[in-house]
Symmetry: C2
Subunit: 310 residues, 2 copies
């Protein structure tokens, strides 16, 4: 009888691993380092070794394992191949095939942002929903879209690349993607810092932000203190993200938006700024769509990876 | 053995009907008037009657029929119910259930724009593709999104409501949807006329458009004659639509965009203006996504409706 599965989240620094039962309870959680040298040739064997070691440690029969889900930081196509993952130093890799050969178990792989969205839908901020858009506000802006319980991968693995929606013609510096005026440039942690510094330079009002380091965290800390200039930055952030998500709603019309990543630690006040502009610009039928903060933090990836095979 | 199905496209003026074989060849095509009086109470019985009459006329056994697909101008939820269809004077109707009872055949219903997208994917401009975004540029701007061969209906039936993506803060008049700055306001036939009239008022250059009636058709006719002012209007149209579709690509990453509706009669030159801005703003992986003109014209709806049950 099938009792277990593994959810593996391969990051640029560490590989997060989880052993789950088929109900989705995490039974064990651990990490191994990601060895990216030599074009990341050791990463998959290392993952296979740590899974094999865990199977022996827990005295699990391989017949009891449903399979292994893998989230990786790159686009994964329908055949389970990765077309380059910069942070892992990978080129083209037939990921699912290689892991299946290494482990002798069924393997299913997905892009890490999409897989995290699946995790939040299953056990986190979007639990109980089947149509979820997850937005991760970190160094960049990641996105994952779940429609009818399935990841929207897209033709080129670019489904849910919400961070690169064009939102403004007012920027001159290019985004990491090469385009100019992307959502990521104004709503990631880096983007919020940029908005704050630009505001500080153009606005003469006094502000807590004029002392010490400016970051997404200090901006929202100042917002909570009622700092007028910080609030103006939060409005600008909310207008960009709320309008972009209204436009996403006009495409896939989700039940819920789940907001995660480091910036989401600012808490519910973050959602207030987003929802204000979302509700202004969303199509009538979508104006009441729910917003929630992500709940699984760094574990979203292992939960979503496990869900891939269940 | 199942040999036939019906594809029905219920519009505000006429109901378009098609009898198909299971390969998708249309065997017969006809129309009946849409009787919208008395809250459209006669529409479904009229459709059932015309199907029953066709079954008798062709001497078809009901056991040979796979089912009946229906496209309607309103949102259809997962249970097959319609939550209001203004052009049919309908409120809430349990569409699939009612039609099944009237006909004694399996019935599947969908929103007309989504169903037309399915038709173009199956037998039209998107043939051979499984991830298609269709945009219909008519009096308004309709949209339909097919992901992995399935319509993206959305939670509130608003999946693919591309016409109401917010594209500009520069408008003051509201869209029919109640919001301001929607794609529909600047890229529908009406929207192109608006852009042209605004340009004529603010630009002193001579133009063919200064004589006679201004419409989407006369604008693109003038573009083909090299009329500078008309070309400037087409650029503006292309920038709004190309940027919006680049943003759609960042959400669902389709294989192909299919452009239909009356405005698409302008031909391939229309796609050139859209692609110029699409390629500027699309995420790198999506820059080479194909564009095609719709091929089925007014028949897209009956083809897509038939595909719903096949």
């Amino acid at each position: 009888m099938k009792k277990y599965c593994f959810g593996i989240d391969v990051g640029g620094t560490t590989v997060k691993c989880g052993l789950f039962n088929v109900k989705g309870d995490v039974l064990d959680k651990w990490e191994i380092p990601t060895r990216t040298e030599n074009n990341g040739i050791n990463i998959l064997p290392d993952v296979a070794d740590t899974i094999d070691a865990k199977i022996r440690e827990k005295d699990i029969d391989k017949d009891e394992i449903v399979g292994v889900g893998l989230g990786v930081p790159g686009p994964v196509d329908e055949s389970g191949a990765v077309h380059g993952a910069v942070n892992l130093h990978w080129g083209y890799i037939q990921l699912e095939d290689q892991m299946t050969r290494l482990l002798g178990l069924p393997v299913k792989a997905g892009n890490d942002a999409n897989v995290a969205a699946l995790g939040e839908m299953w056990k986190g901020g979007g639990a109980g929903c089947h149509n979820v858009v997850m937005v991760t506000l970190g160094t960049g802006v990641g996105g994952g879209i779940i429609n009818n319980g399935q990841i929207v991968t897209g033709t080129h693995g670019a489904g849910g690349e919400i961070g690169h929606i064009h939102v403004t013609d007012s920027l001159t510096d290019p985004c990491n993607c090469g385009n100019t005026g992307c959502l990521e440039q104004v709503t990631s942690a880096t983007g919020i810092t940029f908005l704050a510094k630009r505001k500080l330079a153009s606005d003469v009002r006094p502000s807590m932000l004029r002392e010490g380091e400016v970051s997404a965290k200090t901006v929202f800390d100042a917002v909570k203190e009622g700092d007028e200039l910080a609030c103006a930055v939060a409005e600008e952030f909310g207008r960009y993200l709320g309008t972009a998500l209204a436009n996403v709603a006009g495409v896939t019309d989700p039940e819920i938006f789940v907001i995660g990543g480091g910036v989401s630690k600012a808490g519910p006040i973050l959602l207030d700024y987003i929802k204000k502009y979302y509700q202004q610009y969303a199509f009538a039928a979508c104006k009441s769509t729910a917003f929630a903060l992500a709940e699984l933090g760094n574990d979203a990836g292992i939960y979503g990876a496990a869900k891939l095979v269940l």
